[in-house]
């Protein structure tokens, strides 16, 4: 029970960061990606500060915590170990980037906007979930 409460709170704090940082505002996201507007002063670089702030804190966490014997509520640290840069990684990232640019939502803000995103999210989120689950099933089927 304690584990669930702490993880729930982590989700709440994550969402707070997304909302306060501006990541849940699709117009702001697109204004950040709009580097064609740098010369005219239209470009809004503020989302770079979201990433900078998150990296500062997360880098310390990843430097310190995995040295501990184990997390509070799990038997060990379970962190990604794949280092390969392959076609799937780059093609996937490219497709994701196109979708992100088109709508201004990445997965975290899309989920955090469930109750506030109106028709935008009513269309975007189910499509995203379908894409995720089908792709995962496809990759799993191919691997076996």
């Amino acid at each position: 029970m304690m584990a669930r409460i702490v993880v729930f709170l982590a989700g709440v704090v994550f969402a707070a960061g997304l909302v306060i940082g501006g990541m849940t505002d699709p117009k702001k996201v697109q204004a950040f990606l709009d580097i064609g507007g740098i010369a005219s002063g239209r470009w809004d670089p503020s989302l770079a500060f979201v990433m900078g702030g998150a990296l500062m804190v997360a880098a310390i966490a990843f430097a310190l915590l995995p040295k501990r014997k184990k997390p509070w509520f799990a038997t060990g640290f379970d962190l990604p170990t794949v280092r390969r840069i392959d076609k799937a990684l780059l093609a996937g990232a490219a497709l994701f980037g196109v979708g992100w640019g088109l709508a201004g939502y990445c997965p975290g803000p899309a989920v955090a906007s469930l109750t506030t995103g109106g028709m935008d999210i009513a269309l975007f989120l189910p499509a995203m979930l379908v894409g995720m689950v089908l792709t995962k099933r496809f990759l799993q089927a191919r691997a076996t």
Partner: protein, 137 residues
């Protein structure tokens, strides 16, 4: 408050949440991975749904507190296509803005750097294209 400072504070909160999840479960806070596995895997379903519930409740609470916007009316077809691309792309590419952009980069992963540069580049090219066709406000 200056918008840059506000964004920096938002980023620090995302970092704190990442710290919390790592300390509690020993996992990276990659949202696309957490959401996908919540639907497709039996193991770890509890903590993943607890985190997702926190995201939804926190998103509602702070949008209300800060009067934040998350709507920009677009054509339904564009939103559905964008959702599919984000869903397929993040699973094929093993991560999104949080998993690669925050967790991967803070672990000095070259793989995540390659992914982050790719999705940022693709996002920028897409917005430039939208603007070229006059499809951006």
């Amino acid at each position: 408050m200056h918008p840059y400072l506000q964004s920096l504070i938002g980023g620090v909160l995302i970092g704190v949440a990442t710290w919390l999840l790592l300390a509690a479960m020993g996992r990276v806070a990659g949202i696309s991975g957490i959401v996908t596995s919540a639907f497709t895997e039996r193991e770890g379903r509890d903590w993943r749904w607890a985190f997702i519930a926190g995201l939804i409740v926190g998103g509602a609470l702070f949008a209300w507190l800060f009067n934040a916007v998350s709507i920009a009316p677009r054509s339904p077809g564009l939103l559905i296509a964008a959702g599919l691309l984000v869903g397929v792309g993040t699973v094929l590419g093993s991560g999104c803005t949080s998993g690669h952009g925050v967790c991967g980069l803070s672990r000095a992963s070259v793989r995540s750097l390659a992914a982050t540069l790719t999705f940022m580049g693709a996002g920028m090219a897409t917005v430039a294209t939208l603007r070229a066709f006059g499809a951006l406000a």
